[in-house]
Subunit: 306 residues, 2 copies
């Protein structure tokens, strides 16, 4: 692979930016990677492990001379970062982001992007429950989707370069409209996360079943929820607050459906339950056939404690 951007600036050095640094290096996609983070501790860890070529102390400094700037901070912080870097962006540079919601990011960031700088929001659908500068790894984006949300009249060459970067890191790239993105993600990610958080919180709240029991016997299904519910709290707070309408709409549909299944349980309507569960099983099959999960039992989990 050949160098796509001469200098890339990563603003925020968590799981996604860290994985980008590893993936760009592996494929030699950037001649220089400059990084920064708001927390001095994160910057210090990043320097220690050599995550970037240079770690600098401010976003304004990081973007100087950069051909690509990636905003990889919680959604609630995007506006302030954009305001800070706006005056320091190099003419012809591209600004992108990795936020899980697109409409809110566009509203917060676009006003601060000067004429002559390209702004192409993006969202790699990849992650783990871990966070921080040490959590990244080069293969995170392999065979995963990266959704790009180019505004009208986006420069085709700027778009082609950004696409090539993501493909060079192993991702498949699709273009999508911002509002449709936010609805699709509400279904596939935001509502499931809120539901997992809720279930884990309920279990923790119960008095008659001890915490110890919940933890001990979690392998029966609950532990899959706890993995999702272990994701970064700041990031997810911002996701829900900034994709409010779509998330609440899906949760409303979820509640309706849950009530219908509860009624089937209460009235002993076994046929309804059986049909429902048969239908959901087919969806799993579709996901495996689409190459988006492993067919190995239990995700091919390595046995814990052995």
């Amino acid at each position: 692979m050949s160098v796509i951007y001469n200098r890339v600036a990563l603003i925020g050095l968590g799981l996604i930016a860290g994985s980008m640094a590893h993936a760009m290096r592996r494929a030699n996609l950037a001649a220089e990677i400059v990084g920064t983070a708001r927390s001095a501790e994160t910057r210090s860890v990043a320097r220690e492990i050599g995550l970037c070529d240079r770690v600098v102390d401010s976003a304004a400094e990081a973007v100087q001379g950069a051909d690509l700037v990636v905003l990889a901070v919680p959604i609630g912080a995007m506006g302030a970062v954009a305001e800070e870097i706006g005056p320091h962006l190099k003419p012809g540079a591209t600004v992108s982001d990795v936020g899980s919601v697109k409409r809110a990011v566009i509203e917060a960031v676009a006003p601060h992007i000067p004429q002559g700088v390209h702004f192409i929001p993006g969202h790699p659908l990849a992650g783990t429950e871990h966070s921080g500068p040490k959590s990244g790894f080069a293969s995170l984006f392999e065979n995963r989707w990266c959704l790009l949300v180019p505004p009208e009249n986006t420069d085709p060459e700027a778009m082609a370069r950004l696409r090539a970067l993501w493909e060079g890191m192993g991702a498949h790239v699709e273009e999508m409209d911002a509002d449709h993105h936010d609805l699709v993600l509400a279904v596939t990610s935001h509502a499931p996360h809120l539901i997992a958080y809720t279930m884990v919180g309920v279990a923790d709240d119960l008095r008659r079943v001890t915490d110890g029991e919940v933890i001990k016997y979690s392998a029966a299904g609950f532990r899959d929820f706890t993995r999702i519910a272990a994701s970064d709290p700041t990031m997810w707070r911002d996701v829900f607050l900034s994709n409010k309408d779509a998330t609440l709409e899906i949760l409303g549909r979820f509640t309706e459906e849950l009530f219908a299944l509860q009624r089937a349980i209460r009235t002993g309507d076994g046929a309804h339950l059986f049909d429902y569960f048969t239908r959901t099983r087919a969806i799993r099959r579709g996901i495996i056939e689409a190459g988006q999960d492993t067919d190995a039992p239990d995700f091919g989990r390595s046995k814990p404690g052995s």
Copy 2:
């Protein structure tokens, strides 16, 4: 390990019974394993792959001369199987089961157990989303819990043998009261399964987000739900119908909590969300420390499609 039961009869040859057959053989825990299943196709597959020493055509035949009889059929079928085998059980034999609900199984099975036969219900907390006679494997129970629910005045020697069998298959054994078992499982397993089924059903129902999109972009969180929602429909229908009260109670608590989080989203109460998500993250840590899941990112999933 030495032989614990001379002859073990497995009634039903799905994931759990099949895994027991593999695990008992590996550790030489049974001199002879006899199996049966209601479906002729299942029996035929089991014979073909040599799952048991003998596969016979009826439960009544399978239990003849057996020292341990394991009922591994859906909960709704337990009563009929118990009625069928009752007259054929060997005096001094032990009957156990592997059902996910204990009070309903006791009510269905106990009346058919003759004097002089021990009945010790059990529940191994282990499984995958796969089912059928080919889905079992010897290590399924390793480092997993098996809950035994002995009635009052259970013969200590019969209890010790059954415990030794499960330990020989790699499980940790705990004793528990039937009603408490059903409540604990409603929290750790039954409610999470219903919620996962619901979420997957909702996604499938939406018109504005296509099935193709849901499947394609499932890696963002949704796919973990689909694994749970791919579990055996008959088994789960019976679980919900037979653990109705505890499941509905936990779902009621879940709905309350979900409404509180929805309200926090609607009103923009970020502090409430952040605190909630921070608390649930700590629970995940507890599960990993208890050795009930892997700390590897994304369950250490092997990369699909690569």
